[in-house]
């Protein structure tokens, strides 16, 4: 089976092509079109278990800004994005917030932490 993807690992955006076929050692995935090893990794990941990182914000009380930006430490399965958004939305922080601070540990048991990406000072 042949599938095509656009790599999202860097701005080059290589056009990737995966071909799945039965080899001597079971199923093999052949990747073409990548410029670097990350592209190959991405194509295989995308074919077998597509994952994404997400960035959003968490409410902060008593801060110089009403929101602290957050992201995930590791990518999560693509079909769990909105579940994770729901979890993050429930969370509220109190200033001060420091970048790298863990906001939710191991969110929904997916092996990824939600971390703050910005300092929010107290007012």
């Amino acid at each position: 089976m042949v599938r095509e993807y656009t790599c999202i690992m860097c701005p080059l955006g290589c056009g990737l092509r995966t071909e799945t076929r039965q080899g001597e050692r079971g199923e093999e995935i052949l990747v073409t079109g990548n410029t670097c090893p990350k592209g190959k990794e991405y194509a295989v990941q995308e074919l077998t278990d597509p994952q994404r990182n997400i960035a959003t914000s968490v409410l902060v009380s008593g801060g110089e800004l009403p929101l602290a930006s957050v992201r995930l430490t590791h990518a999560i399965p693509k079909d769990r994005i909105f579940d994770v958004m729901g979890e993050i939305r429930k969370r509220k922080l109190t200033a001060p917030v420091k970048a790298k601070e863990i906001v939710i540990e191991n969110v929904l048991g997916l092996g990824s932490d939600v971390i703050a990406t910005k300092d929010i000072g107290k007012i």
Binding site: C7, P11, G15, L67, S69, T117
Partner: protein, 411 residues
């Protein structure tokens, strides 16, 4: 009047990187002037990741990327002022700034222009129709959602396939809004392929090329936009109108370098890049005034903004040591397939980095640099798109000091 070696106008990614590099090279009498309350510039609201792959070898969010430089500025103790707006720069490098404390006048030996860029608006592209609320540029919507916790709307249409527009399509979807489609007047996307993939395709948001908004309806709040197909000359095709009910229209229709202050100083601008004409030292047509980052040319990657500003800082150090930098006499000329090229002036005696964009997508092309008909170098481009800035290092040993440099795209 206060005397300062280097005044840096703007504390965004370009200004911060220039300041840190100057400090590292021993310049201590620096002052960064920032209009907003915080350092960091536009990166403060760019909370998505994907920054820093080139500069730091890892992918960071905008605030984290800015944070790396802000931390260095604070550690080094580089002087900066926030909540202060520069209102004038003179050709002899007198900088006038205004804040709540009054007017500040500074005589600088060198000025670094690092003010960034602005978004094109509805007025700039002349969309006809009524003038209701609910029409935002992508960056304004981003500021509302990511900094001020204000949701801009629920049912959105996006005009323009710039990167920020696509990133806002994803951001609004994550926040529960419905983004119906992105319309692009050109026959190709103006943003990067990876953003089409991860911001649109991931969320089932369609991208229509060769389409534009031809009418806006709504008295108080936006109620609908009319979208038409356009022909090869980008003229709307009669009979193709389709109405989309929506409360929000996001515009991602281009960025323009912010050069009001440059003009005040008498800096010559390039009508193609909309930024200053600079030489290989990033020096503008006014001696001692330098420019880098989005105020010079709109970049697609912040990594290259920082690196350009660091290169500016290296030149400023030489300028401070030597009192002046020699005028570069050779012009960099481009053919019709190149949108713009930076620098516009070279000496022929120094290594430099050439930045350029192609006017339309091309495959299996060559970027050719020649002097007086002799080919200096050719860079093979399996794929080149206007969304991606091309940078080519050029070695002085390949150049002569007599002839202009010609840049062309051939295939």
């Amino acid at each position: 009047m206060r005397q300062t070696d280097v005044v840096i106008i703007g504390g965004g990614p370009a200004g911060l990187a220039a300041a840190v590099r100057l400090w590292e090279k021993g310049v201590r009498d620096i002052l960064i002037l920032e209009r907003e309350h915080f350092l960091g510039g536009i990166l403060r609201q760019c909370i998505h990741d994907g920054f820093g792959l080139t500069r730091f070898g890892e992918t960071l969010s905008g605030p984290e990327y800015a944070g790396r430089f802000i931390d260095q500025v604070l550690e080094m103790g580089i002087p900066y002022l926030t909540d202060i707006t520069v209102i004038d720069i003179s050709a002899d490098r007198k900088v006038t700034a205004s804040s709540r404390d009054g007017i500040l006048e500074i005589q600088a030996k060198a000025v670094a222009l690092t003010m960034g860029c602005r978004e094109r608006t509805r007025g700039a592209i002349g969309i006809p129709g009524q003038r209701p609320a609910g029409i935002y540029t992508a960056g304004v919507a981003q500021s509302y959602i990511n900094l001020q916790n204000k949701m801009v709307g629920r049912e959105a249409v996006i005009l323009g396939s710039g990167d920020i527009g696509m990133i806002m399509a994803r951001r609004m979807t994550l926040e529960g809004a419905h983004v119906q489609a992105v319309f692009e007047v050109q026959p190709y996307a103006s943003g990067l392929p990876r953003n089409i993939e991860q911001c649109l395709n991931d969320y089932g948001i369609p991208l229509y090329l060769s389409h534009t908004v031809t009418d806006i309806k709504g008295a108080e709040r936006l109620e609908a936009v009319v979208v038409s197909q356009v022909d090869e000359c980008m003229q709307p095709v009669l009979g193709t109108e389709r109405e989309y009910c929506c409360d929000t229209l996001i515009l991602s229709v281009g960025l323009i370098p912010e050069n009001e202050l440059s003009l005040a100083a008498g800096v010559e601008l390039d009508s193609r890049s909309k930024g200053a004409v600079v030489d290989e030292n990033h020096q503008t047509s006014v001696s001692g005034i330098f420019a880098a980052g989005n105020v010079l040319q709109v970049h697609d990657l912040v990594d290259f903004v920082s690196m350009e500003a660091e290169s500016l800082a290296d030149s400023v150090v030489r300028y401070l040591e030597e009192g002046r930098l020699a005028t570069c006499m050779l012009a960099v000329k481009t053919d019709a397939n190149v949108t713009h090229a930076i620098p516009q002036k070279i000496s022929g005696g120094e290594d430099f980095k050439l930045s350029l964009r192609v006017r339309r997508p091309v495959k299996n092309a060559f970027i050719r640099l020649s002097q007086n008909g002799n080919i200096i170098l050719e860079k093979k481009m399996p794929k080149a798109i206007p969304a991606e800035m091309i940078q080519i290092p050029v070695k002085a040993r390949k150049l002569n000091k007599e002839s202009d440099l010609e840049v062309s795209v051939v295939w």
